[in-house]
Symmetry: C2
Subunit: 160 residues, 2 copies
DNA sequence: GTCTATCCTGTTATGTTATAACATACTTTC
DNA sequence: GAAAGTATGTTATAACATAACAGGATAGAC
């Protein structure tokens, strides 16, 4: 079933990154879009952790490597990656995170730890939402489902 | 059951506003917090429509009435109203909307029409989200559930 | 190969959303 | 009416985001 949200559990992160980059590489080739240096590097930066990074954080990293120093560079790369489904935007944080399940067309839900900043991606559980919507005739195009709270690790000893 | 999302259906909006203001008034009295002029007016401004307003839109309205011209005035009033549960923040829009069911402690879900800007509030349908969360040990404190799409009215003739 | 159309990047400038910090005024309690 | 707590006014700046245009790389047509 592999429905475990990554991020809260230990895993081979190096292979996690490698497979995500490979999946993106192949998807770009298949779709005939360019996976340029800036785009690759932006995705790699986001893949380094299962936390969300702000556009300006990404930009700072790119800039340090001589890959662009002005906001539009980062925003354009991020917009491309979001369009292609390799990255998700976390509305609550005004930030971006690499997709944990690239390839599959999906409507993700996120769990955001307010203590450590880790963000885990889960499958959407929007059955009820869709029911509510269709009941009132609303036609859903996109969903934002984000829960904020404490991850398993941060619950122990984080009474505050 | 009265589970209809307001906003997409006709209703007596004047009475809708009046009862919301009254509920807020009473809740403030009961909780011993001040329902000041700026706070009242801010809530009234949001109640005027079932659309979301940005903080600076609210500020412009307040300013036109001599109730404050600087961002913190609007942001403070909005923060108060959100705390008290009279107003919700729509993350997707960086905007605010008056609660359609004040009084009840609830976890709302929103349906945002991308064409006309109407936002309807429904009950949260986060059963699956909670299941996902507890499965991985995540402790939810707050949820953001927002769907974007087309409302019933805008579907007719809005092929674009 | 080179021309051309398209897409990508670099840069300037500006727009939008949000808060920190401190001064002043009001309200409640005693 | 003094003290404590709460709310507002104001300055300044931080953080997030995009419009618009110029230049460079890439890909397909010939
Ligand atoms: Zn994903
Ligand atoms: Zn955590
Ligand atoms: Zn509500
Ligand atoms: Zn509409």
């Amino acid at each position: 079933m592999s429905n475990d949200p990554l991020g809260f559990c230990a895993h081979d992160h190096a292979s996690c990154m490698r497979s995500a980059m490979k999946a993106a590489q192949e998807a770009c080739a298949a779709r005939g879009v360019q996976f340029t240096k800036v785009r690759q590097r932006t995705l790699e930066i986001l893949l380094e952790s299962h936390a969300a990074l702000g556009a300006y954080d990404v930009l700072a990293r790119l800039n340090a490597e001589g890959l662009g120093s002005k906001p539009p560079v980062a925003y354009r790369a991020l917009a491309f990656l979001v369009e292609q489904g390799f990255v998700h935007r976390i509305e609550r944080l005004n930030a971006f995170i690499a997709c944990a399940r690239p390839g599959a067309d999906h409507d993700p839900a996120f769990m955001i730890c307010r203590a450590c900043g880790t963000v885990a991606e889960a499958e959407t559980a929007s059955v009820g939402l869709k029911a509510s919507a269709s009941q009132s005739g609303f036609q859903i195009e996109q969903t934002v489902i984000e829960a904020e709270g404490l991850c398993p690790t941060c619950q122990t000893g984080a009474g505050t």
